[in-house]
């Protein structure tokens, strides 16, 4: 664990180091989650593979409908069925395929070995249970604590996530807490059983920036202290840059790029990633102009995932697209050590970045 922590501090070390460091705790391979609806098949997650090392911070970034949340729900087997179904792939936690487990075994994984933080703490907390009892629930179930012990541990956890007056707050209900405090309580709940993997689905999107900074700090601090591996799902490239070690970019249900965070921001190898980075107004490059110039647009819109045509999903919006892009999805290739991208024309993309 310590090696990983120190790697974060010297964050711009060569890629090879991190590639070989810790063993993988979670391996997702060829995951396909489809929704069978009247209009056809929605390929929400289509052939997504990645691995997560113990204590690693991985970000999955993409726009709405790109399949990032559905990837997380598939890992926990929480896909609404029907209409959704995991049709192929494997999700291995320490080598054990979760997709093959009976439901009763799967319940021992959820909230225990893998837990999740959701975007909207108000809708994901139970409004009629006190905070302390909600956190204690997981402890009673997974660690077989008595009700009283579980409550005491819950108070301790609330203290860990820096909620002032934890003993009083533990007896309060979700509506009595502010948005930031609810997200802290949910973090406490997710970490109650000391999970190996924490899936955080847009944990700060509903929060104000000053509160977002508090919560991200908290998640990172606890992540390092407890050695939990984190999958951070977000649409905010700023959050990615400041928290993740490695990044996966998703578009239209597919993984289109994967790289260490520095490499991705420095040299995006997929035209979608490049387009995204150019499309955001940014505070670190103050224009100095009275009013800034035009932003780079990605033309067109995010595709509907029903009955997608063959070929690269990004081709209709891509400035580099050619015939082959429209007929065949490009293979995942290592364009540089540890830097995967699915693009037929990544040399051109690279050239454009330097132009």
């Amino acid at each position: 664990m310590n090696t990983v922590v120190s790697e974060r501090e010297t964050i711009s070390k060569p890629n090879a180091l991190q590639r070989t460091a810790a063993p993988s705790v979670l391996e997702v391979e060829g995951l396909k989650t489809y929704f069978f609806v009247r209009q056809g098949i929605v390929k929400a997650v289509d052939d997504v593979s990645f691995s997560l090392k113990a204590g690693e911070k991985l970000a999955i970034v993409g726009e709405s409908g790109c399949g990032k949340s559905m990837t997380a729900l598939s890992i926990l087997r929480l896909v609404p069925d029907p209409p959704g179904r995991i049709v192929a792939g494997s999700v291995r936690l320490d080598g054990k395929d979760l997709l093959k487990l009976p439901e009763s075994e799967m319940r021992k994984v959820r909230g225990n070995q893998i837990s999740m933080i959701f975007q909207e703490p108000m809708t994901s907390l139970n409004p009629v249970l006190s905070i302390g009892n909600q956190i204690g629930e997981a402890l009673m179930l997974h660690q077989h604590l008595s009700r009283g012990d579980a409550f005491d541990k819950a108070v301790e956890l609330l203290k860990l996530v820096k909620i002032p007056e934890p003993a009083r707050r533990a007896r309060e209900y979700p509506h009595q807490l502010s948005g930031g405090m609810r997200q802290r309580a949910m973090t406490a709940m997710a970490l109650a059983c000391n999970p190996k993997v924490l899936l955080a689905d847009e944990p700060t999107t509903a929060l104000d920036v000053t509160i977002q900074a508090q919560i991200l700090d908290l998640i990172l601090e606890l992540q390092e202290r407890l050695g939990t591996a984190v999958v951070l799902i977000t649409h905010d490239l700023g959050v990615v840059a400041e928290t993740a070690q490695r990044v996966i970019v998703m578009y239209g249900g597919k993984k289109v790029e994967e790289a260490l965070v520095d490499d991705l921001f420095e040299q995006p190898r997929h035209p979608y990633t490049q387009g995204l980075l150019a499309a955001i107004p940014r505070l670190d490059a103050l224009s100095g102009e009275q009013q800034a110039g035009r932003l780079k647009e990605i033309p067109g819109m995010v595709p509907a995932l029903v009955n997608l045509p063959k070929g690269c999903t990004f081709a209709p919006r891509c400035p580099f697209a050619t015939e082959i892009c429209r007929s065949e999805f490009p293979p995942y290739e290592a364009k540089a050590p540890g830097h995967l991208a699915a693009c037929w024309h990544s040399e051109k993309v690279e050239g454009a970045a330097h132009a």
Partner: protein, 346 residues
Amino acid sequence: MPEAVMSVEGARAPAPVLDVRDLKKHFPVRKGILRKTVGHVYAVDGVTFSIAPGETLGLVGESGCGKSTVARAVLRLVEPTAGEVRILGRDILPLTKSEMRPYRRQAQIIFQDPFSSLNPRMPAGEIVGEPLRVHGIGGKKERREKVAALFERVGLRPSQMESLPHQFSGGQRQRIGIARALALDPQLIVGDEPVSALDVSIQAQVINLMMDLQQEKNLSYLFIAHDLAVVEHISHRVAVMYLGRIVELADKRALFANPQHPYTEALLSAVPVPNPRLKRKKRVLQGDVPSPINPPSGCHFHTRCPYAMERCRVETPPLVEIARRHWAACHLREPQASSAPVSTAA
């Protein structure tokens, strides 16, 4: 203080399109079976600013700071409690409904949520043409032509005029909202988080469209957002609100490069920057935004301010001009007593 604000801004620029003075909106909090008023939410508590022709004023702040209430109050979509709202020089608050009409034409609004701000049963063309119909402008055919032209201008196909809102994507719906706001050729458009609900790649399209339209028609924008990078990009000047009050107001560049209020400083420091090599010293604010029902005494920010002094707890700092065209409400930044009259005289 408001007098000073006005005299300075009035001296440098043409007559403002929107001129807001000491605007207040207090919502009563009622409790019990008799609905007795037990307190007030001080949503907007004395806000003063103006917007020149062709200018964008960005208004930022966290949720609950009152920025959306300002947007609604300047258009009288909620009735302000006190203050003045001058559109093209005329205070619109005492006007009757019919007297308001010509001013409503001059000031339009774009909402945040492109899903709930369009009537789901009305074809897009009718939505965009409705303001023309309501104000009795042109005949049926003329209106249709105008709507078709608006569709083209905002990047929609006129052939989509018969489609219903659900047949459009989020970005396209926001374009419909923009076309509707443009229909009456207003001079001022209030954008209440107009790009916040959009995906990054679509957001850039809409921001570009709004900036192009501004150049073309010399529009003034009151642009409300919580995303500081977006506001930095689109605005000429920026006002920062905290619990119902403006705490800092300055030219965009000055505000972002040289923030003077501790809250602005903290806000800027909290924004995650998409550059992993940039390792910044973050100043993370502690605590939550206090409730606007019982805001803290003195400077509202003193409960979270790292520099708070005894004086901040009792005395409300006025918004003063601490450098040319740079206003801040902080005891730490107050000029020496001798220089205070100078700014008033200017």
